[in-house]
Subunit: 431 residues, 2 copies
């Protein structure tokens, strides 16, 4: 049987999972690839550290140069996180004639144009299924399986940490900070979860999907985004009372043939498939003009789900499928975008507002006037009796369809009203 | 730009959709394939019949020979239903050096070994994404994206007609025959829906998925199957009362390293993803040992969803991905199975029984004794007060986990009891 020599750079959680799949289940990969994937080298920084996998003698090394110099190693899984030295190593590997598989979404979101253009120029390929949504093969589905479609929209729950926290807040009525602590204890949140909960991680993944599925050329930092880190338990409760769940959605939509992107906590109506995605799971709803609506659901992170995606990419690369796919994918490039960016302010949708207002006459009139000035009509209002006389009360309003721009302008006007006490909370609503 | 000449055999609903995607959206397929897919010929039986698409002059023909003789035509979408002449045409096309794309699941389920072995021998390939679950790319996901996994189980709603009928029975409380008539009026059921509602269609699709995902070698007729055509509205109502929905599930499970397959109406607990799949939609839940649980949801039939799958296959075939994939897929072959068939009787699960019993003392004792003899313990019992004194009453029993064999033996014993009036209804339960 043919043999393809492969290497792994980085034996962290995912790297160890990849090594285990290659070593312990070699017959399986051989059967699906029609050739053996032979793990020749695994490169680590610290040779002394204990690992989550056992390697045959001679495989472990702390020298990337050994991989680069070995011309027989054709496929390298580059599993180092962060931007540097990940970027330099990636370029070095490509220059030395290797095809590369990676799970590093931050790297692609930041240095995609450079890496992909360089790979193309060198006739090499980069596979990155594991960079978005862990075990869900969303890259292959969008890049290959839906190629007869113009995508019309994509709505994704792409950050498992945020989804775990939101699910717990809904299920247990616990406040954000309390749930974060529990998530950290259970391993669903990092010691510093900032990038997961502030929308950065989801925006980086959305940037990758927008390039791939829509031909967009957008840097993730230009995607309007808000996270769940400022979410108040009160909003979770009001959402529930009205039959919705709050989800951190990454959204790409064609609006008049332009692409609108944003990452936002969103009220999703209960019973809708995305509302029912619980715990650390991910899900992506894609609408194509030929196929209609598809939903993909699965584990968005974790050692073996991510390793499953990395090894599938290694097989695809070893057999030559990745090279074919890579040539035609609409990937980062310094070339021009095929689709222009829509003005975020023009994106249409329904909105949820929660205001903290004085408990006195005439407030609702002023609030509805401020909305009316922006042509926003009210779909429903929720105001409970105050706990104590004279105190501030929450006023919750769901609007009919309007634009993000009108909603933001209304929000600013509302904030200035004397009877509105704090900054209004404003979220998207999806029925 | 490179050009690949393609042809379509059969311009029915799906064929017309494929022609439209190729002709009206040629720029899109060219972008995703890196080459033009040029529709050279479309073969029909009757040149006079009006079509759902407009073809350029010279494309329409009633001669398959024209396609076979044109050595420049490399990829052919063979979209004729049924077994013959579909089989002969398929073999002719392969012999003449063409790669073939098909949506004909019945043909593959019946003549798969012959067709696939012949294609392999000739160095050709067959792509068949559209043969299972319409627009859901389940073939690519199982055959390619999950190649690092040993699949452990697959549960599919694979027949849209049955799912539409079941959803309506649940939502409207209408009887089977009434809903079938409505489904026919709306185009969700054929004039003769037998193959859809009796489990044949789902078993044929399950056979394809079992070959692909588990290395099984099973003929669809050897898959135990029952359909929804004998389903009583009473069972729909009892299921609902107990918090379940009845779905026609196609199931493949590894049981002690053997493969167990069946197609059965099954009570699925509400809130589970498969229970929530409504209307004519399809869904497939796959568990892999590395990736864990994945769910794929989408349109299981229809002109453009199916055409989306066919054109994706034509692109994959034109660029050479299908050829690579085809070589390693675990497909039909007259070669030996990699996995043995499990004894259906040994498959474990919970069961629902509905008995029609005399409304007299001691019946429940006899029934529970018959179950006890098979070591089946009762999880819950439902018996409503009878409408009229002395008449027969329905007795509904949900069991704890047991085996299909024990459930069938108990069912036979129960049928023989003097106080049990009709054949017991027995269904699988999935929590």
């Amino acid at each position: 049987m043919h043999q393809t020599k492969v290497a792994i750079i980085g034996l962290g959680t995912v790297g160890a999972g990849v090594a285990r799949l290659l070593l312990d289940y070699g017959d399986r990969t051989a059967r699906h690839a029609g050739r053996t994937l032979w793990l020749e080298k695994a490169v680590v920084r610290d040779l002394q550290r204990s690992r989550d996998c056992e390697l045959p003698p001679g495989v472990l090394t702390d020298s990337i140069q050994e991989v680069i110099d070995d011309r027989e190693i054709q496929v390298v899984a580059q599993l180092i996180g962060g931007l540097e030295p990940a970027r330099s190593i990636m370029l070095q590997l490509l220059e030395s004639g290797k095809d590369v598989v990676t799970a590093n979404k931050a790297l692609l979101a930041e240095h995609g144009p450079e890496i992909f253009d360089r790979a193309r120029a060198l006739g090499r390929c980069v596979a990155f299924e594991a960079s978005v949504a862990g075990g869900i093969p969303i890259i292959a589905n969008i890049g290959q399986c839906l190629s007869a479609n113009q995508l019309l929209s994509l709505h994704g729950i792409l950050n498992g940490t945020s989804n775990f926290i939101l699910s717990k807040m809904h299920a247990e009525g616990s406040a954000y900070q309390e749930v974060v602590t529990e998530a950290q204890r259970l391993g669903y949140a990092e010691a510093d979860p900032a990038m997961d909960v502030d929308g950065t991680d989801a925006a980086q993944k959305l940037a990758i999907l927008a390039h791939l599925g829509f031909g967009a050329r957008v840097h993730w930092q230009d995607i309007p985004r808000s996270g769940i880190d400022t979410l108040d338990l009160a909003d979770v409760r009001y959402a529930q009372e009205m039959g919705y769940r709050i989800k951190l959605l990454a959204v790409a939509e064609l609006v008049e043939e332009k692409i609108a992107l944003h990452v936002s906590p969103t009220l999703v109506r209960e019973g809708r498939s995305l509302a029912e995605v619980g715990g650390p799971y991910n899900a992506i709803r894609v609408v194509g003009d030929a196929v209609g609506q598809l939903l993909f659901y699965g584990p968005g992170a974790g050692q073996m789900p991510t390793a499953s995606a990395v090894v599938a990419d290694m097989i695809d690369t070893a057999v030559g499928r990745s090279a074919i796919t890579f040539r035609t994918l609409e990937l980062w490039s310094n070339r021009e975008a095929r689709v222009a960016a829509a003005d975020y302010a023009s994106v249409r949708g329904r909105f949820y507002f929660r205001l903290t207002v004085d408990d006195c006459p005439g407030v609702l009139a002023k609030v509805s006037q401020a909305l009316g000035e922006q042509n926003i009509s009210i779909a429903s209002v929720l105001q409970h009796e105050p706990d104590a006389a004279g105190s501030a009360v929450p006023l919750v309003i769901m609007t009919h369809e309007t634009t993000a721009g009108a909603a933001d302008r209304a929000s600013a006007t509302l904030h200035k009203l004397a009877s509105v006490q704090a900054e209004p909370v404003r979220m998207w609503v999806r029925d």
